[in-house]
Homo-oligomer: 229 residues x 2
């Protein structure tokens, strides 16, 4: 049984880290049984045995693997008989480009829509940490940071243009079937969906169609992590 | 001998289409001998035998192939014994994502820096066509369109963030050696370089280091197409 340390809100069933979601989906993709341990920002120490100060951290027997990309590489190497996450070196180049695109161009826009909603989901200790650290990073209050989120949603929609074009040609980022590049992108949407009622996609967007397809994978696993009330 | 119909300026040695540059590099990559025929916007009819109203168009014996992506697929299929442009299906997914990213996010920023310089390179008939069609598309004069190009360069630099991250990890977009995804990106820079003295990259940018590496490939082929005086 593998163990995933997984970022959680006050409600331990609310799991919202985009990086942890990559790992959830990768483990399901490989068909590996796993359990998750809810981890909070204030548990910093609890993951330190891994040398990491953040989750995801994967425990597999004596192996302790931090970082979603390293976890994917670890799974690919150690469970090579299972369905591949990358197919081959060229597929890994593809996923790596998608990761860099997500992290530099898409990811930074999401907190400008949902940071205040994330705050509301956290437990009390995490709330203090989250507000202080984010307001220092953004240089404004969280309320100010998300104030113009309708506009941010337009910018976000434009930033998704390459993804939208890919999905107009094929059902998944990776082609006919999903693989790790899909999970990298999906993490962004699950982060928003599990913390906020704000709809970051228009329902008629081809990207939303794909997102719904992702929610249905593996018996509807991701879809059962519910949106906040 | 393959023949490439190639967009040219008033000076027939000035070749500046980003899509045609993909094909130049793809033909060199495959080690196929080719000649180019300079084509101008006002030659519209001259490529129509191909069913295309634009270049690139590649002629290979009885085969007439328009569109840079279709040309790459054609070369891969018909010259399968040569160095691959895509490696495999996963590599093709990678190149396709890069193409969509370039075309939706990066390409539209380039005319906001160089459209007026492109105009100056064209022959008289093309000048009229180019100004009229672009001013209709942009809704402002070309002079107004490029007026704030120092700011556009900042936006352009931010848009290149995923590319910059990839190139911090490896020498080429495709990994240890260049392939079609590199040529897709390179077309953007050759378009600017062959028509404008405006430096769209800072020299210390890792992307500029890669661009210079691309200029040196195949015996410095692309580097010999000179910048305007």
């Amino acid at each position: 049984m593998l163990v995933l340390y997984d970022l959680a809100a006050a409600d331990p069933d609310v799991r919202f880290s985009p990086y942890c979601w990559r790992v959830h989906m990768a483990l399901l993709h490989k068909g590996l049984p796993f359990e998750t341990i809810p981890w909070r920002f204030s548990d910093r120490g609890a993951a330190e045995f891994s040398g990491a100060t953040r989750v995801p951290v994967l425990i597999d027997g004596d192996s302790v693997v931090p970082d979603s990309w390293r976890i994917a590489e670890y799974l690919e190497e150690h469970y090579a008989d299972r369905l591949p996450l990358f197919k081959d070196e060229a597929g890994k180049q593809h996923a790596r480009f998608v990761a860099h695109w997500i992290e530099s161009t898409v990811h930074p826009l999401v907190p400008k829509m949902i940071a205040l909603d994330v705050l509301e989901q956290l437990d009390e200790t995490d709330k203090e940490y989250f507000r202080a650290s984010r307001e220092r990073r953004y240089g404004v209050t969280l309320e100010e940071y998300v104030a113009d989120r309708d506009h941010t949603r337009e910018v976000f929609s434009e930033a998704l243009a390459p993804l939208r074009r890919v999905l107009a040609e094929q059902p998944f980022v990776c082609g006919a079937a999903p693989a790790f590049a899909d999970y990298i992108v999906f993490g962004i949407f699950q982060w928003a969906r599990c913390t906020s009622r704000f709809q970051i996609l228009r329902q008629e967007d081809g990207v939303a169609t794909w997102r719904d397809r992702m929610l249905g994978l593996f018996g509807g696993y991701a879809g059962r992590f519910s949106t906040p009330p």
